[in-house]
Amino acid sequence: MTPLIELSGLTKDFGAFRALDGLDARLPRGSVGLLGPNGAGKSTLVKCLLGLLRPSAGRARLLGEDVARRPLALRRRVGYLPEVDCHLPGLSAVEFVAYAGELSGMPPRDAMTRAHEMLDLVGLADERYRPVHAASTGTRQRVKFAQAIVHDPEVVFLDEPTNGLDPRGREQMLALVAGLARAGVSVVYSSHLLADVERVCSEVLILREGRIIAAGPLEELRARTGAGWELRTRGDEEALRRELRARGIDYAALGPGRGVVRPARSSAALDEPVPSAPEPVPAAGNPDAPAVADPRSAAREDAASPVDRAAASESTGLPAGEGPQGEGGAPTADGDEATTRDVPSPPDAPSGGGALPGDAGVRSGESARPGPDGNSAGGEAFSAQAVATVPRRVFAAAAAAGCEVRRFVPLRSSLEDVFVAAVRAQEER
């Protein structure tokens, strides 16, 4: 099976600015994630693959064909959902999609019936007859999706498809993309939102400032980070910590009623010096106002004084991956475009706790931080057996301490940690 995308030394310059710097990659068919912060070169890469931009150097092959040589034939087999907000002026949704179908070569009647079918699929009821430019962001995004797949392409490029969608819209869009993948259409999903990519793509290509810093199947990239559980309780926390310690479980509190549990490790590595704590809880004004760096975790916080999860992950050295969307976990409803863990742009993330001034005082002492080489090292130290019994011991401890267990979720590494590790690795190289 010819691979979906082959890049060899692909470079693209816009005057002095080098948007893509010698990309080399081979990505198989199926759903591929293009991940990176805004401005990492994702859109440029998509446009090169579409033949809209001519690469300055190197070669790109899509579906086995060189993109620069016969772009027109290639574009017939490709669908494109552009990131920029665009529409065909004056047309209603159904006209827009039918016209797009015809432009790809479909006979008029087929284009119209197929357009209606696609609009049913994306869930547009009677808004399909109203002009697109007057429609809401959600509707426009769905129409853009419909026009990308109306001519039944073999591969679909989606550039930030969930941009500007409210939670419900995002869920539907991700379900649509999954539907595409099930029907055998290859998907190139470009986004800066990790959770979207995690849910939809099997392969990932991580871009940063025009260079590929990590590529390969998602599972392989995530295997490198260790295990742990996020625990949220309500009740006597001290008692809980004592019970847990008695059962050989280390409890790193992240905030009132929130903490990370890990099987206790005997080795000394556990108690290295603690880096400075996460950002300060502001002194005056609104004491309760949380200084939360990572948006995602805030949604999980108790109201009391949620402390930044990202900071916690850096200081405790544990992958603070959220993981609610792990296997079978129902996506939490409040996911809107900023909720899911976003890819922190590297200058901030890898420097970890150090960059964040001030102290929180909440967790000094307990949290351990396995060496500066990033969290991947901390994971493997636990034996499989020790890991298996943790849950039962945690619940037993909670029962003994008489605390409510409101949330108990395995900490599976999210792409952020993969991104962080990859960036750190790249900087060392």
């Binding site: 007057a134 429609a135 809401s136 959600g138 409210d166």
Partner: protein, 282 residues
């Protein structure tokens, strides 16, 4: 207060200069100058009219028809009609509207800037026109005709027109949603139709007064235009010479009209809401 007025004026000035409009207007002015140059270079006085009579007549006719009665309306129309419209479309009006400055003052500052730009362009355009006309062969009338004086009169009329028409079209821009269409309709009506009517009706149009100012120093008869009588009457009627008001009263009338329009605009701007449509309902 003056500082704020000046700030908004410079902001509007910068916006007017930067836009495509000024490019189109400058192109038009160059085209007119080219026209003057072509006429001066290619035309030759007819046998029955000596050069000293033919050239001033042609120059005045062209200045009046090609410049005063068309460009002096179009340029203020382009700049004054969309005083707020540009800001609304760009979405930058919110920065001005939420400042502790009364809205009429903001409008006044923008109007002054727009008028300044229109007047400047017109004056430069006429200067160019005169230069282009005199370039090919020096002073054709041998000193008998005061080229500079007459051109300055026309420039004065152009400045007056920039203020008068500017205020009028600013009011159109604020009151009507499609101010430009109404502006053109008025321009066409006042310019082509009313000015050529008998005297009484003409007093209504701004152009009548502009022409009085422009031609205050010229006496067509003294020009020695030996057209055949029927043509002379035609020229006089066209140039509105039947009973021209004095230059001073013309200035007063037009400035009065401009003042009235500005006061009306101030009331409109206080009363109405000017902001982009709210976000599309979900």
């Amino acid at each position: 207060m003056i500082g704020q007025l000046w700030t908004v004026a410079t902001l509007e000035l910068r916006q007017a200069i930067g836009g495509a409009k000024i490019l189109v207007v400058v192109l038009m002015l160059f085209a007119l100058a080219a026209l003057a140059f072509a006429v001066r270079a290619l035309a030759t006085p007819p046998p029955e009219l000596g050069p000293e009579a033919f050239w001033p007549a042609i120059y005045l006719l062209m200045l009046n028809f090609v410049f005063l009665q068309t460009t002096v309306i179009l340029v203020p129309l382009a700049f004054a009609t969309s005083l707020l419209r540009n800001d609304i479309d760009q979405g930058t009006l919110v920065y001005l509207w939420t400042r502790p400055v009364p809205r009429p003052t903001l409008l006044l500052a923008k109007f002054l800037a727009a008028s300044a730009v229109s007047a400047g362009l017109l004056v430069v355009g006429m200067g160019l026109f005169c230069l282009a006309f005199l370039l090919p062969g020096g002073d054709p009338s041998g000193g008998a005709f005061d080229w500079l004086g007459r051109t300055v009169d026309f420039m004065a009329a152009a400045v007056l027109g920039a203020v008068g028409y500017g205020a009028l079209f600013a009011l159109f821009g604020l009151v009507f949603r499609r101010g430009l269409i109404w502006g053109i309709a008025y321009g066409f009506l006042s310019e082509f139709v009313l000015t050529n009517f008998p005297a009484v009706v003409r007093e209504v149009t701004v152009m009548h007064y502009l022409r009085a100012v422009a031609l205050s120093g010229v006496d067509v008869r003294s020009l020695g235009l030996r057209f055949d009588p029927e043509d002379l009457a035609e020229v006089e009627r066209l140039l509105g010479f039947l009973d021209p008001p004095s230059a001073a009263s013309a200035w007063a009338t037009v400035l009065l009209l401009a003042g009235a329009c500005l006061v009306l605009s101030a009331c409109v701007v206080r009363a109405r809401e000017y902001c982009a449509a709210p976000a599309r309902p979900e």
